[in-house]
Amino acid sequence: MSFSDIISLLRISLHAMVPLALTAIGEIVGETAGLFNIGLEGILLISAFAGAIGAEAGGPYIGLLIGAGVGGLISLLFAVINTYWRGTQMVTGIGINLFAMGFVAFGLIQLGAPGFHMVPSTIVVDGAEKAIQLAKFRTPWGMFSPMILLALVLPFVVHWFLKRTRAGLMLKAAGEMPEAADVAGININRIRILAAVFGGILAGLAGAYMSVAWLGLVTKGLSAGRGFIALACVVFSGLNPLLALLAAFIFGFFQALAEWVKTLPSKPIPGEFVSMLPYIVTLLVVSGAIGRVRFPKFLGTPYKRE
């Protein structure tokens, strides 16, 4: 393994980290307020699809915006069901995942090819070249997506927000002690909905990033368990955004490693086993991390005034 191999491995790791980090940070905000969304996998998938369509219609920024918007809307539905209607969060999440699997497979057929859609990097409209995919920075170490910067900065912002602001403490109160927060005049349901929508917007952005800024394609299995790996990041972090970023990088690294080993001409390990690697590492890391983490007391329970 040469030096340039290591650089390119790190570059792919950083790119693979972005969707995990964004989704995990969003879920941390939601879980702090008391909502546990296992529908992230589905949100990633749908917003990757919606983002690709948006980008092809109006450019990369419209694509990212539409992806984020779709993610926010699905989370809004999730949050309303699980606050005002006092639903079962796990079941809603499972439903979102099933819906997304069907919807994206259905949508891909509408676009022409079943199961597969390439997002071109540019198209020519009226003789002028128009960008579809988000442009990458050229650096001495290769091309980097600007979204990496967002994924690296956002955890610090969210960490500051949760620890140091009044709104952040209100979020925490909604998850830890909804009754006391209610007495203090905080609208529990509204704050939970806002937190979940924020989480959904980030997951949507992560989905759109995959199709519009990173992989340049949509498949019906594009999310490939990333929503659940992001949940694993959240579990590992114990709701600390900085640790979640670290976990996202670790998982991103092993995804990159798996891709890298697959390209080796000597094929030291069958590809099927290499593909298992990120999931096995996720399991190992989560089993090693558990024990010291503590979650909000009222995570997953709808709040009802007595």
Partner: protein, 382 residues
């Protein structure tokens, strides 16, 4: 004489009330199913399809005749079992989302019986045993991780689904592969195939495995001490522990039973589905894929009750079978994938408790009904 008549009529009323209370969950499932179909119809209309004709094609393709019924029941067979996987664990208070992977392992283990010969009947039993053991083994690891390391079973079972998928693909492509046809595994021999229940369809005797296992689970959960403990641990873990129920034991038991069910689901597919009785590694496991996830939808609509699950599985099996007809029907056919969109919408609707109250039209009538029932219950206790 008149008092006797009054007693009789009040007994009748009580019976009606009890039936209505019992039907309440079924009514909710029905409404959720209608909501799901409505969401599907709206999406079809948005994309320029004719939802009315699509649904006619779908339901005729599902229940329009004996051939259609056989086709629906074929798709019902594994769904009953994968739904049971989810439900047994949920009854014990855990979310086992790993039916998909456990089913892959069961199907792969069942293929292994192709390498030896046994008499008809015994060969079936060995195949089912292999599949059950493989499914149980695959679900035991997440259970152990949960018990020893506190790892959330939601995450571990999903990770095990992916590991199982790649492992099953590897085994199907390199190890169990048919030497003459590289895209599939060796086929289950004649002595281990479930005979067809209805000739010239694909419905096999495998469905009796599903129904028998569902009835077994019903008996276990509601007529044995073990089942009572399992349900108690799910309803209130703290109280159950206080009452002397060993919660770790019930947790393991629920995962083992769930794994067995999912493993058997894999076996019913490879041992009962004509024409090849094999797994297609080259095609990415087409007969198996998503059966575990669909099972969760079945479990929800069946209200996590074995009998409800059988009914719900017939509905979802019908959707799957009818979807295959729908995708070739008319000049602008609706793709099969629409069926899973409908399933997802149904599950989302199912997650809303007292779904009836969400709909203003139904709210009043349901409130009245609930009030009368409540009043009735008070009278009964008084």
């Amino acid at each position: 004489m008149s008092t006797n008549e009054a007693q009789q009529s009040s007994r009748l009323l009580r019976g009606v009330r009890r039936t209505l209370t019992g039907l309440h969950p079924a009514l909710e499932s029905l409404i959720a199913a209608l909501v799901g179909l409505l969401v599907g119809a709206i999406l079809m209309a948005v994309w320029g399809y004719d939802p009315w004709r699509a649904y006619i094609a779908l339901f005729q393709g599902a229940y329009g005749g004996s051939y259609e019924w056989a086709s629906s029941l074929t798709r019902t067979t594994p769904l009953i079992l994968t739904a049971l996987t989810f439900s047994i664990c949920l009854r014990a208070g855990m979310f086992n989302i790993g039916a998909e992977g456990q089913m892959y392992m069961g199907a792969t283990a069942a293929i292994c019986i192709s390498y030896f010969t046994l008499p008809f009947g015994l060969h079936h039993a060995v195949g089912l045993l292999f599949a059950a053991l493989a499914g149980a083994a695959w679900s035991l690891i997440p259970a152990a991780l949960k018990m020893m390391r506190g790892v959330s079973e939601v995450i571990s079972t999903i990770m095990f689904n992916w590991i199982a998928k790649w492992l099953a693909l590897y085994l199907a492509i390199y190890v169990l592969v048919d030497p003459l046809r590289g895209e599939k595994t060796v086929s289950i021999p004649l002595t281990a195939r479930f005979p067809l229940l209805v000739p010239r369809t694909d419905l096999s005797y495998g469905i009796f495995v599903s129904v028998a296992f569902a009835l077994f689970i019903y008996f276990l959960l509601w007529h044995t001490t073990t089942g009572y403990e399992l349900r108690a641990a799910g309803l209130n873990p703290a109280a159950a522990r206080y009452g002397g129920i060993r919660d770790k034991r019930t947790m393991f038991l629920s995962f083992i039973l769930g794994g067995i069910a999912a493993g058997l689901a894999g076996a019913t597919i490879v041992m009962g589905l004509p024409p090849t009785y094999a797994i297609y590694g080259g095609g990415g496991l087409p007969q198996l894929v998503n059966m575990g996830f669909d099972g969760m939808a079945v479990a929800m609509v069946g209200r996590n009750h074995p009998i409800g699950i059988i009914i719900a599985a017939i509905f979802f099996g019908g959707l799957n079978a009818g979807g295959r007809v729908m995708q070739f029907y008319g000049s602008n056919p609706v793709p099969l994938e629409m069926v899973r969109v409908v399933m997802g919408a149904i599950v989302i609707a199912m997650s809303i408790p007292e779904l009836i109250r969400v709909f203003p039209m139904l709210a009043n009538s349901s409130k009245n009904l609930l009030n009368t029932m409540r009043r009735g219950r008070k009278e009964e206790s008084a």
